[in-house]
Amino acid sequence: MQNPLSNLLATQSIYWPWWAGALALGFIAIFFPLVLRRPLGVSGLLGRLVHWKEENEAADAEEQLAEAGDLEAALMAATLARFGDEATKQPAAPACDEPAAADGLSVRIRPAEHFMFFAAVVIGAFLAALAHGTAQLRWSLGPAFEAYFGSGPLSMGVLAAGGLMIGFGVRMGGGCTSGHGLTGCGAFQPASFLGTASFFGAGVAAAFLLRGLLG
């Protein structure tokens, strides 16, 4: 049986050696914020996509603010658009959307652009699969998944429940693998170290549990 380190030197795998992956991920985590002036945090971007209506309203309001001279009315519009009636229930959170750009530029990215990013991720993955010869539309997550859950209704229930846990959890925790794991830990944020340890720890525990119960 292979030991865990043997794949580090193997060249037969269709996947990249670890150092290539490391360089690629590091590059992305560094260049995304450098170039696009906002931190890389997919769960936050997805959140903005889910709340696309409010995001568009807020962007519209900000555009009006830039054009109109009536400062007070525009601020009120933006506040209501962003917080709705919750403005009366909780203190307004300082807006994270304005990136703390050194030159003071404040650009609100519309949800459509976040969607473009995600579409590009899908296409990029498709290109990778093409390169491996594994690109194929199929109702399957692969043999390892089906060994645990099969391919019937149970497997779909598992995915739906798992997805709910992921969505709920990343919002509760304030980040996902890119937000906490790469960006937060990359900036030595203690909160992100805690978050990353929590989700990696849970992933490890859950994987061992699954292997023990179903493997």
Binding site: A22, H51, F168, S198
Partner: protein, 139 residues
């Protein structure tokens, strides 16, 4: 930077992100399980190495500037635990479901729907049930 250039760069980085994740093996459920059960350290090292590169890059870019500390809040650990468990079950984090889709793995649509529903659900209940300050950048 003008918005067309920004959009072009967004697309380019997104493409590379998906391409890299697909090539590292994150869309392969078996590889993810190997990572989580330490049967194969390749993917852990891909991530850990990526984190190390990011740390160096950020430090160089940051120079002497102080960046504000993200606050600790009560949701970090339970949220992380839920997320990690969901990851082991579905094989993905939010980005990975997209990578699975790119490879043609259609069940990832179910996972993605669940994730979007979970996000919407949490955001609805947070002010009512929880209400702690998640900090100015809830990434």
């Amino acid at each position: 930077m003008n918005s067309n250039l920004r959009r072009a760069l967004t697309l380019a980085i997104g493409l590379f992100f998906g391409f890299a994740l697909g090539n590292i093996g994150f869309a392969d459920y078996g590889e993810v399980q190997k990572m989580f059960t330490f049967a194969d350290l390749r993917m852990f090292l891909s991530f850990g190495g990526g984190l190390a590169v990011t740390m160096v890059g950020f430090a160089l870019l940051r120079g002497k500037r102080e960046i504000p500390k993200r606050p600790f809040h009560k949701g970090i650990v339970p949220g992380g635990v839920l997320f990690g468990a969901g990851w082991a079950l579905t094989g993905g984090c939010p980005t990975i479901t997209l990578v699975q889709l790119g490879e043609g793995q259609l069940p990832a649509l179910i996972t993605l729907a669940g994730i979007l529903a979970g996000i919407g659900l949490y955001d609805r209940v947070h002010p009512r049930l929880f209400g702690w300050d998640r900090g100015s950048c809830d990434m």
